[in-house]
């Protein structure tokens, strides 16, 4: 009995999205907003982190002069660290974006 009712509701919520009823439209808008918010937050964080580098090394030349094993910190940061940073945030974004989509599917399947 319960299983049957559940099945009926899945079809109905999917149809709501597919037919773009008011409910379906609101759900899609919610998903788009969540995904855009996530993308903007990640982009802003990365841009602030990378964007701060030229400014800091301009304002505080001493920081850029710091060396590790004879290699300037800036060269380590931009030559290798930046790629790790980009990958880490890309990985984080992929996980969170998939979770947003999972949440959306869960609603339609609920």
């Amino acid at each position: 009995m319960l299983a049957e009712r559940r099945g009926a509701r899945i079809v109905r919520t999917r149809v709501e999205v597919q037919q773009q009823t008011a409910v379906g439209d609101a759900m899609v808008r919610g998903l788009v907003r969540a995904q855009l918010g996530l993308a903007l937050r990640v982009a802003l964080t990365v841009v602030c982190l990378l964007g701060a580098v030229p400014l800091i090394s301009h304002l505080l030349p001493g920081v850029a002069g710091v060396t590790i094993l004879g290699v300037p910190l800036l060269w380590i940061g931009l030559g290798a660290g930046a790629y790790l940073l980009l990958f880490a945030f890309a990985w984080l974004y992929v996980r969170l974006a998939e979770r947003n989509e999972q949440d959306f599917t869960d609603i339609t399947d609920a």
Binding site: R14, V17, Q18, Q20, G24, D25, V28, L31, V32, Q35, L36, A39, V42, A43, V46, V47, L50, G51, P54, L55, S57, H58, P61, A64, G65, G70, P72, L74, W75, L78, G79, A80, A82, Y83, L84, L86, F87, F89, A90, W91, Y93, V94, A97, E98, E101, F104, T105, T108
Partner: protein, 610 residues
């Protein structure tokens, strides 16, 4: 540079070129219209796909240009490879999954899908064609430079040879962008750049020299440099050299002392540096090690407004990648939006690994082949390094490896670009038959070939950076606003692309054709024309938004359906794949049935194409 032609290098070049062409021809036999590219490849896994994207993306600008820029400009130039990689983060965040779900495989296709206007498709197609043509120019020039350096051929011969090979290959139907070939290209290029870098690193570790001393770079042995184009160099301390030719517009033959400051060397001049002598560097580049290793020297436009140069470059590269046609079309080969995301993630990893090595090679180039800094043709650094540091077979083998990597880089990227632009032109302008594709390929190949022969020239990477700026000011706002903002209208999109394209394109044109004197108006004209993105990108976005708001009544009626398709996961069964136009029609004579868009079946697991 006048050493006899090394046999191994010639072999490496020929093998790489023949292999690329042969695999292309053979691959076409296998792929036919079944289009590995559009249908079978929809099931290509993210790893192969990511290697293929990276293989096609890493062009002459990355393989040769990055090391050259690092050698010449130092710390600030590190932003080029970082930006080239960060572009894929922008692509991942804002474009990858929704674009794949839209089913559009090129930007013109997306424009029509999203805004429903065929004329907007045509406009976007024009922008794509311009970007492709401009992107091809540095590829051809890089090829000319490579053959000039390695074989001593005049520059135009190399440009013509590689240009003709690429055009003939694409016209003949070769070099379809077979996934596994492109994936192989990535690993070849990585090996060709990593192995010399690692070998030189070992050599460097046993060699007690530092790069960041407050001294100009020096040559170890007596070195003769031929100046092939007029160049202005700067000298940090009085320098005695033997010159035959023209210095500061006066004929010179014999030993002279160059006073600190700038000097003009005319084309055809021969400059002989004594062993241990310091090396003058091209004007606008940092002249001593300390200035080179710390930020603030600028990237080609001198220390004036260096922060603006860096930030503008960041904007251009972060946002420009998503507009590149040969990159976007590959995302279509992902089975679904989720795979498109994972592919972008893998591309970031692969590019990050690759770009570690050009940076290293750039540093070594400043140490071991500083004479390149005089002529300004520092793009040759990667090619010359192995031979000049290591003697004997080891050096020759490495040089041959690098040469084949370089030729692979030109051929793969330029063929990919030419296939993209010819596909777009033949379906959107001509009638999409096989013959039309060939006509389009010849036209789209000859124009950049002529440009490459007649225009000299920025550094390879800087030229590519300009093209990124144009893409970021035209196609990027169209994609981002089209995917995320329901209010975009066709008129708004067109206005934004025209304004952004005119500003960024006009600046690029000025920078190449009639460069400003850096002394004019506090340096702003030359800096702005070299790095226009910080102005042109916000301008394009705001034009697009404002004009769209003003034409609010013309928002497409089906925007809700389009948004659902782009953003709802495939498993809910809303997506669809578009009909295959541009890349399939030209072979449709060979009788494989056109794949049809699959009707919505929400019960199908794994999206519309299973």
């Amino acid at each position: 540079m006048d050493s006899p032609v090394p046999v191994l290098t010639v072999v490496g070049l020929v093998v790489a070129a023949v292999a690329t062409v042969a695999i292309g021809v053979y691959g076409v036999r296998m792929a036919r219209t079944t289009s590995d590219f559009l249908v079978a490849s929809r099931s290509v896994g993210p790893r192969w796909n990511a290697a293929a994207i990276s293989g096609e993306y890493l062009s002459a600008a990355s393989f040769l240009g990055v090391a050259g820029l690092v050698a010449k400009y130092g710390a600030d130039a590190l932003w080029y490879p970082v930006g080239f990689t960060a572009g894929y983060l922008g692509l991942l965040l804002f474009v990858a999954a929704p674009l794949r779900r839209s089913g559009a495989y090129t930007v013109p296709d997306f424009a029509e899908y999203r805004l429903g206007q065929p004329w907007l498709r045509t406009l976007a197609m024009l922008v794509v064609a311009v970007i492709c043509v401009l992107y091809l120019v540095p590829q051809f020039q890089g090829a000319g430079l490579t053959l000039n350096i390695l074989l001593g051929l005049p520059g135009w011969v190399g440009v013509a040879v590689v240009g003709v090979i690429v055009i003939a290959n694409v016209v003949g139907g070769g070099m379809r962008s077979i996934t596994f070939v492109q994936a192989f290209q990535y690993w070849l290029k990585l090996t060709a750049v990593a192995l010399p870098a690692l070998v030189l690193a070992v050599h460097f570790a046993g060699d007690d020299r530092a790069v960041d001393e407050p001294l100009p770079p020096t040559v170890v042995d007596a070195t003769t440099v031929d100046i092939t184009v007029d160049v202005v160099v700067q000298v940090a301390e009085p320098l005695t050299v033997t010159v035959r030719g023209e210095v500061d517009a006066r004929p010179v033959d014999g030993r002279i002392t160059l006073a600190p400051g700038e000097h003009e060397l005319a084309a055809g001049t021969e400059l002989a540096l004594d062993a241990g002598s310091s090396v003058p560097v091209v004007a606008g580049a940092p002249s001593d090690g300390a200035a080179w290793s710390s930020p603030g020297a600028g990237i080609g436009e001198g220390p004036q407004h260096h922060l603006f140069q860096v930030y503008s470059l960041m904007i251009a590269t972060f946002l420009g990648t998503m507009g590149l046609p040969h990159v976007l079309v590959r995302f279509y080969t992902n089975p679904d939006g989720r795979a498109a995301r994972i592919t972008s993630l893998a591309v970031i990893a692969l590019l990050g690994v690759f770009y570690l090595f050009p940076t290293l090679l750039g540093v070594f180039a400043r140490l071991y082949v500083p004479q390149l800094l005089i002529t300004g043709r520092s793009d040759a650094a990667v090619l010359l390094l192995p031979g000049s540091v290591l003697s004997g077979w080891g050096g020759q083998l490495l040089a041959a490896l690098v040469a084949s990597g370089a030729i692979a880089a030109f051929l793969s990227t330029s063929s990919g670009l030419l296939v993209s632009v010819a596909g777009v032109l033949s379906t959107d302008v001509l009638r999409g038959r096989v013959r039309d594709f060939r006509i389009a390929a010849v036209l789209a190949g000859v124009v950049p070939l002529l440009l490459a022969l007649s225009v000299t020239s920025l550094d390879l990477s800087r030229w590519v950076g300009q093209v990124f700026g144009i893409a970021a000011s035209t196609l990027c706002p169209l994609l981002i606003l089209g995917i995320w903002w329901r209010g975009l209208t066709a008129v708004g999109a067109a206005a934004g692309m025209i304004v952004g394209g005119a500003v960024a394109g006009g600046a690029a044109l000025l920078a190449v054709v009639a460069p400003f004197d850096p002394a004019t108006a506090g340096g702003w004209p030359s800096v702005l024309s070299a790095y226009p993105a910080a102005i042109s990108v916000p301008l394009a976005f705001s034009t697009m938004v404002l004009v769209s708001l003003a034409t609010r009544s013309r928002i497409p009626v089906d925007v809700g359906r389009v948004f659902s398709q782009m953003h709802v996961p495939e498993r809910l069964g809303l997506g669809r794949d578009r009909e295959l136009g541009a890349f399939d029609d030209r072979h449709s004579a060979t009788a494989v049935p056109e794949p049809q868009p699959v009707p919505d079946e929400h019960d199908r697991p794994g999206g519309t194409i299973g």
